[in-house]
């Protein structure tokens, strides 16, 4: 990530607070994603990872704090201007079951291409290539896909338009070893091409393999942001999993 460290952050979130039905879900999340960086958002279940991603994408309104997504406020009127430069894979997303794999890609491609069919076809072909799904599978309805196939299709759909920032919520969830390897390779390739990648994962050993930096959150609050090496040193840990346990359980939590 050194090669991009001088670039302006693609995402800059500071002190984000979010309450849902009177319950504080985020009470001070801060993080920053730079071009060419794979940034892992790590935290236990219910820590606020998914809500953080929704807030930074403008899907949920923050109560306070500042978010700049590609330089604009995701809740502001300029948000649509940068929407085509972001790719998002929600954790529990599904493809359209009644559409074929190809049609799923082509629909999003049409949206990203603003209705230009030729450009959409090229984007969808890129998506098909990224997914690695055989032609026969892409011609089938997505309702017939295994969870792994669906995940590969959705990941391809999220990044086929070469976004400047990819936000991936548990991208390898439900994938077999080979598919997970392929996804990790894709994530590194995206970052290598200058895109920023924000991903959340429960698998911190996997995170260690791909992350440039990691932000630990717990109880809706950022505990720390550092490089993988810094995390290992700071918590005197042999791997990121041990560092995370130390960070969450070692007096760094909110309470």
């Amino acid at each position: 990530m050194d090669k991009n460290s001088d670039g302006a952050p693609l995402l800059d979130a500071r002190g984000v607070v979010k309450t849902i039905r009177g319950r504080p879900v985020l009470s001070g999340v801060s993080l920053e994603v730079r071009p060419g960086e794979v940034h892992v958002l790590a935290g236990p279940n219910g820590a606020g990872k998914t809500t953080t991603m929704r807030v930074i994408l403008g899907l949920a309104r923050r109560d306070s704090g500042v978010v700049r997504l590609l330089g604009v406020d995701p809740e502001g009127p300029e948000a649509r201007r940068v929407a085509g430069l972001v790719g998002y894979l929600p954790e529990d997303a599904r493809p359209y079951g009644r559409l074929t794999g190809w049609e799923n890609l082509y629909f999003y491609a049409l949206v990203y291409a603003g209705g230009d069919r030729d450009r959409a076809r090229r984007l969808a072909m890129e998506g098909a290539r990224i997914s690695g799904l055989p032609e026969e599978a892409l011609a089938r309805r997505a309702s017939t896909y295994s969870k792994g196939m669906a995940r590969r299709l959705l990941l391809a759909r999220a990044v086929m338009h070469r976004p400047r920032l990819a936000v991936l919520d548990e991208p390898t969830s439900g994938l077999d070893v080979f598919s997970a390897l392929r996804v990790r390779g894709l994530i590194r390739r995206l970052a290598g091409e200058g895109a920023g990648v924000l991903l959340s994962t429960h698998n911190l050993l996997e995170a260690q393999e791909v992350a440039d930096r990691v932000t630990f959150i717990s109880g809706g609050r950022t505990l720390c942001t550092c490089t993988v090496g810094e995390a290992l040193d700071r918590f005197n840990a042999g791997n990121l999993e041990e560092a995370f346990v130390a960070a969450v359980g070692g007096g760094h939590g909110p309470g």
Binding site: I20, R54, L57, G58, L59, A60, R61, R80, A83, G84, V86, Y88, L89, P90, D92, A93, R94, P95, Y96, G97, R98, L99, E103, F107, Y108, L110, V111, Y112, G114, G115, R141, L154, R157, A158, V167
Partner: protein, 403 residues
Amino acid sequence: MGLARIVFWKEVLELSRDRRTLAVVVLMPLLGMPGLALLTGALYSQQRAVLGVYYEDPGASGVAAALAGWARQAAAGVGVGLEVVVGEGRPPPGCCDAIIYLPRGFYSNLTSIDRRATVVVAKLIASQAADAAYQAAMQAVDRLAGQVSRWRVEELARRAGVEVDPGVILGPLSVRNYLYKPSGAPATPGEAREAETARFLEFALIFVVNPAVVYITDAVIGERERRTLEALLTTPLGVRDVVLGKLAASSLLGFLASLADTAGVLAFFRLAGGALEPAPGLLALHAAVSGLLVLMTASLVAPVASRSETIRSAQAGGMAMLGVATAIYFAALFTDITSLPPAPRAALLAVPFTHAALAIQSYASGRLAGALLHLGVMAAVTLAGAAASVRLVSRERLVMVRE
């Protein structure tokens, strides 16, 4: 439409493969009305009833036989399979669905000039077949009364030595009928039949509202629950594009539903085989009202559905609207809304669904301007609903399902 047309394309593609929704949209209106005709017609005529004609007066056996014959003739008109039995003595308990009983002294009273002859007509309660048998019995008794009255007038005239037309004495009033439109202009019997037909067309709108509720609820909340919506809302598509694309798809569905409903109505009238017959103009208006009704229903359900926590609560909201629409279209079978007192009429006019019924009613009674006005109200409500959908739908509501 902008990017909304891409959503429209996707919706149409999905819809074309959604056999269940298509079946509901096309088959319900197509089979609903003819099904009603078959159920109310064919099943009704399958009923069997027994009418017993009993006499205790030995002299009344001939009259009993005549009554039985007339009741058999009347059975064709009441539509059920009627068996008529004749017996001497009191009717045995539980023998029949309806009874004509001629007690002692009946014949001598009947054949006198100045005494009333008592006839007992009874029927079993809680049976539609018994109602039909009773109708046949009363027709037979009325026929007997008519014949006896005529004979008595002729006998009195003979004794008085005068010549009279018994028909003039028994029916002293000559009643002449004519029909007219709300404008006061005379109406033909054909136009009167068309107005009657319109009431069934208003009722048939029930079958159009249901698919609209089912489709739009599924299109908005179903997509959220199938987890296909969240990523879509981070693309350059705005909520407006998503909502308008779905509403546009529902208009296509409305077009299909209106065709199916019109075909169903035609089939209903063919199967019912009655005097009612929709004219081409009325059918065309019905198709237009049906299509607009689907779009209006979709635009009203969309904001409710999008603010619902779950598909069940969205369906409950949609079903509440469906219930209101059903009540209005069912009531339109029996009620002329324009004849209601101001308060209930104003309350009904405040419900958008009422205007679909009134558009048909106005056209059928020759008030084209009134029909266009009600169609205009529906179009305005549709646009307002679509605008409200775009304004009220929030990304957060659509994404943050209660978990």
